[in-house]
């Protein structure tokens, strides 16, 4: 769906390259994530790809068409939710959606149905200036879904949300992926990235040192062991066993048969561990 070759970008009037010859692909129907600390260039990449920033170097193809030759109708099937909610504060939630629906030629979704999805139906007639940041984030998110986008750009979609509302948003994202929507999201939350993204790219100082599937990253960088926590004579104990030949490992079988098992976990590395290991940088900046 998206092919990016040697993309570079510097903001006008500055020498510093924010994006340094990055290349990646996003396949149709996948959730692809950029994971990296603040200021790494994640949002800039999204802004280039959704056409907000011009004057970039390299090639960006979307559905085989060069981004620089894209017509305005390109936006009929694009959805963008920004990191900071940008809404008409003097309009109600419903009016915000209705007004933005008027900017599309194609048929748009029922705003009330969208409000219901993020539990804002009770606030449909409230002016947005009275909304909390979390409510604005949710409204801004569903606004991006008005035109039934085939390609969705999400910039830090769970930023500023409480765990309950973050869960709602993540469920919607997973549901959209099931429906075949291609999603490009940026985040610095490793849990979100791990849960939502099929493939990930680590971004550090405008470069992409790692692009891989989330599963493979965990397997490659994790220990191939199983950790068993159990109780023996009333005391909590733990042991690790190699995954290879685990079924025929007598010590493992012995614990399973004789002890009270508390937990059993494979020892995949967390994305944060992998990020630090690969990039040498902390994720939470």
């Amino acid at each position: 769906m998206i092919q990016v070759q040697n993309l570079s970008y510097s903001y006008p009037g500055t020498e510093k390259q924010v994006l340094k010859n990055i290349s990646f692909e996003i396949n149709e129907g996948e959730v692809f994530g950029f994971l990296g600390p603040s200021g790494a260039g994640k949002s800039t990449t999204q802004k280039v790809l959704n056409g907000l920033l011009k004057g970039f170097g390299g090639t960006v193809l979307i559905n085989g068409t060069d981004l620089s030759e894209m017509k305005r109708s390109f936006y009929e099937k694009i959805g963008v939710a920004f990191e900071f909610p940008n809404l008409y504060l003097k309009l109600t939630a419903l009016e915000n959606l209705q007004l933005f629906a008027s900017f599309f030629k194609s048929e748009t979704r029922d705003p009330e149905e969208l409000l219901k999805m993020v539990q804002l139906e009770g606030d449909r007639d409230t002016r947005v200036e009275a909304f909390s940041k979390g409510m604005k984030m949710r409204l801004s998110f569903i606004r991006a879904l008005l035109n039934r986008p085939e390609l969705l750009f999400l910039d830090e979609p769970t930023a500023g949300l409480d765990p309950g509302n973050a869960r709602i948003m993540k469920d919607i994202i997973l549901d959209l992926q099931q429906q075949g929507v291609t999603i490009f999201l940026t985040t610095h939350h490793m849990d979100d990235a791990g849960e939502l993204c099929k493939r990930l790219a680590f971004m550090v100082e405008g470069k992409l040192p790692v692009i891989d599937s989330t599963q493979d990253l965990r397997l490659k960088h994790g220990k191939k062991t199983v950790r068993v926590e159990y109780k023996e004579n009333g005391l909590a104990c733990a042991e690790e066993f190699p995954i290879d030949q685990l079924a025929s490992n007598p010590a493992f079988s012995d614990i399973l048969n004789k002890q009270e098992i508390l937990t059993i976990h494979t020892q995949e590395a967390s994305l944060e561990d992998i990020f630090i290991k690969v990039t040498g940088q902390q994720l939470k900046q």
């Binding site: 907000l52 305005r72 109708s73 920004f82 809404l87 008409y88």
Partner: protein, 238 residues
Amino acid sequence: MNWRAIPYDYKMLKGDPMLILSLMVPFILWALMQFLFPFLDAMVLDRWTVDISPYYRQAGTFFLMLIPMMMGMVYGFIMLDERDGGIITAISVTPTGKSGYLKLRMGIPMFLSFIFIILYQLLLGLTGTLGILQVIVISLLISSQSLILLLVLGAFADNKVMGMAISKGFGILIMGPLLDFALPSPYNWIGAYSPLFWASRSLLAETHITFWLHASITFLFHLFLIWILFRKFTARSD
């Protein structure tokens, strides 16, 4: 033009003190000309035996120029408000885009200016020997002045604070017709840098030829400025 967006525009602006002020300015200017000018005329004649009544049309034309300027400034600031809130960015990633948004934003001050200018001229009897077509043409041209101010703010101001600084420079535009009225020939031509200079000359033209000549220059001058500023605005990354 996205007509469906207009009712929401009204909802957003309802109760906005800036809008109320902008709608009152033409009435204040009309009241100044209708009541203050005759009073001043009588007072000056009585005290200094100077008759200022021949300058009635010039004074009226000068005030008339303030109507589109005020409309352009008010809607320019509304636009800067939207820029501060990231609204323009959000519209940029819809099929309407920044240019579609701008057309909508330009339409309202242009329309309001046109209505107010026509009413102002008719109520104060400023049209002189101009025919209906000429009144409509010159009113449209003067209304388009609002677009220049709106676009200057949109193209050069990053936020409202910058907008305030830039709007202080707008006085230089209104100096154009003032210099034309105040200075003797050929020094009055110093004011020709301002498109208002040409617009006011059309309005005060004594003959059809001079009217159309000055109106044509005003048209080309405005077209050039609007084109440059529109491009500058749409090229911005927000």
